[in-house]
Symmetry: C2
Subunit: 351 residues, 2 copies
Amino acid sequence: MTSIKDVATMADVSISTVSRALSGRGGVRQEKVDRIRQIAKALNYEPNVFGRGLRGSKTGNILLVFSRLMTDCLQGILEIANTSDYNILMQISDHILDDPQKIKPLTRKQVDGVIFQDVLISPKVYAAVSEAVPLVQIGDHVHYPGSDIITVDNKEMACQMARHLLDQGHTSIAYVYIKNPTEKAYRLASVREQGIRQAMAERGLTFDDRYRLEIEQVESEDHLKPWAGDDDSQPALLYGRQVADRLEKMTDKPTAIFCYNDMLAYGCLREFARRGIRVPGDYAVCGFDGLYPLAESEPILSSVVQPFYKMGLEGARTLITAIEDPSVFSGRKIILDGNLRIKKSTQSTTG
Amino acid sequence: MTSIKDVATMADVSISTVSRALSGRGGVRQEKVDRIRQIAKALNYEPNVFGRGLRGSKTGNILLVFSRLMTDCLQGILEIANTSDYNILMQISDHILDDPQKIKPLTRKQVDGVIFQDVLISPKVYAAVSEAVPLVQIGDHVHYPGSDIITVDNKEMACQMARHLLDQGHTSIAYVYIKNPTEKAYRLASVREQGIRQAMAERGLTFDDRYRLEIEQVESEDHLKPWAGDDDSQPALLYGRQVADRLEKMTDKPTAIFCYNDMLAYGCLREFARRGIRVPGDYAVCGFDGLYPLAESEPILSSVVQPFYKMGLEGARTLITAIEDPSVFSGRKIILDGNLRIKKSTQSTTG
DNA sequence: ATTAAGAATGAAAACGTTTTTAGCAAAATT
DNA sequence: AATTTTGCTAAAAACGTTTTCATTCTTAAT
C-alpha cells in the first residue's frame, strides 16, 4: 500500500509538503505541486481514510437512516451486518463489472469484505478483490472456486415452472430474454433456458428455437422521472411491445411465454392487454423473481419466487464468517429453495 | 469524545491494559477486566473506528456492490454521494426514532452528516445529531429550524387529488390511514387530511368525520418470507380487510376512498375485488406515493406520485453542501413538485 | 532462601494523515 | 546596511488504537 511517505520520498520533499500539495490548500510552489500530483498519480496513491479520519475532521462517510424497506435482500444483509457490528457501504455498479479500479472503497482498503449482489464480475475483478478480502456473490453467476455464492437453483426452478406449463397442456413454449451487450451475461439466461429444455425433454418434446425470443435492450431513463406522470415509456412496456411485435409476425405461434424475469413478464401482460390479447387464453405468461407482490385487484402473474431476504441474510452471514475466521473453507455454493407462485396467467381457461 | 486514555486514567491502568481488557484477548487479571469493562461502560466509551482502522487490520465496514435498483430515492442519494466521494453507510430504524444512542455510526463519530429518509425524529434525536453533524430530512416530517428538509407539498397534493375526486362527482370522501403507536406520527396523515378538507371546503362541502377511517396497525413479518408462496397474509391485505369490514357496517357509505398511501390502496383494491366490490363503480379509490408503477395488465390505481429519485438527489446534494460549507444557511424547506397520476380507479363509470 | 518460570502490566512504537510550529531564504522595507 | 516581511519548506505533534517489547510482580521449584 503506497502512503504519503512514498510519494514524499519519490518527490524528495517532506510529507507535509505532499499533503499540502494534494489538498490544494496552497503554500507550495506551483511547479512542485504539479510534480507531486504527477508522482502521486503514477504511484496510484489514495489517501488512507483512517489516517485522515483519525487526524482530520472529515471521515468521508454519510449515514443514511431509513425505515422504508428497500428490497428484501438489502434488508437481510443489513439485519446481519448491524447485529454483527459492521457498516454497509453502498456502491452502484453495472450488471457486468470488469474494472477493479471502480470499486473505490476496496482500493482504499476501507472494507473487510465485499458482497456482490446481482453483479457479474470478471476474472480480473475476482482476482483483485479476492486477494484483498473475502467476497460473497448473491445470485447465480460464475462461481469462482475461492469464494462463496448464494443462489437458488435457477435451472431446477425454471424446469419446475416449465413442467407446470406442460401440465397445463402447453407444448409450444417461447422463451423471452434480453440481449446483453456482453456475451457472458447470457449465462443466467441460458441456465434458465436449459431448465425449460430439460422439462420438455422429460416429456419427449424439443424446444423450438424459433421460439427463442432475444429482445433488444432498450435505454430508458424514465424510471428516474416518476414525476413525469407518464409510464408509457417504461422499459417494461418497450420490451412488451417488442415481444408482441415478434409474436404477431409468427405464423405458428407458441401458446406459452416463459419470460426471463418479472419485468419482461409485466411488460408482456400490459402490452398484450393493450392489444386485446388475452392472458390466459391466447397465451399463458410466466416470469421469474417474484417481485411486485403488491399488485392490483388480484395478482395474476405466475412466477418463480426467489427468497431474496433469506439470500441477503445468508450472504452477509457467510461473508462475516469468512472475514472473522479465515480458516473456514470459502468456496461453497449455497443453494436456497425457490418457490413457484402459480396464478391466473398460466392457468387453463377451460378449468 | 471519550477515548481509551480516559478509561485508562479512570481505571488507573495503562491504555494497553484497557485495550487488552476490552478486546478480551487475555493477559489481564479477571477482576481488573471487570472493573475496566464497567468503567468503559460508565464512560460510554466506544472505540474509535479510525484509530482502530489505522492501527489494526479491521475496518468494520462491508461494501455491498449491487446493480438492482433499490428505490429511486436511494438511487438518487448514491448518485450524488459517489460522485462527491462520500460513502453511504446504511442503518435501519423504526419509523419513529427517539433514542440517539441507536445511531451507532454517529456515536462513533464516523460520519460527516446524516440523511433521515422517512424517519420521524424526536427533538432529543434532533438535538443529539445536529450538535454533532449537519442533517437533512427527506419526507414531510417535523421541520426543525436548523436543518434542511426535502419534501413534496403533501397538503397541496392531497388537495389536488381530492379536487379530482370532487370533479368526478364524489361528495362523500372517506379517508383511510393507519393508527400509529405514537401520537406524533399522525402528523403526516393529518396534513394530507387537511388537504382533503380544504378541497371540500372550496366547494362548500364539509368532510364527514364518520368517514375518517383509522385502521389498526398490524404486525406481519410475512414480507420477510416471500418464498412461502402465500401472499394472503401480507400487511396490505390485512389492512384492506379492515377497511372493507368498516365500510360494510356503514349504512351511509362514502363513494370515494382516499388512502393515506399506496399500500393501503392496493390492499383495498384486492380485498374489494375478492368481495365483489367494484372499483370504480361501487367506490373510487386513490392512493399516495406512486409506487409499484409496474402493475399487471393495466395499472388502475390513481395516486399522487412523489419524485423520490429527485428527492434523493436533492437530499444528498443539500447535505453535502452543509457538510462542506458550514457557513451556508441550513434550515430550508425544499419543496419538489408531486404529480397526479389519474387512472381507472377514480374515473367515473358513466364517461 | 534463591532462582526460574510465568503471568500481568506498562512503555513505546507504529499505523497515515493533517496541522502547527519553526526555520530559512529571498525580497521588501526602514 | 539592518531590519522586517513574505514565501516556501521541513520537522514535529497529534489523532486513538493495537501490538511488541521490556519490565515488574507472583508463584513454584530447587
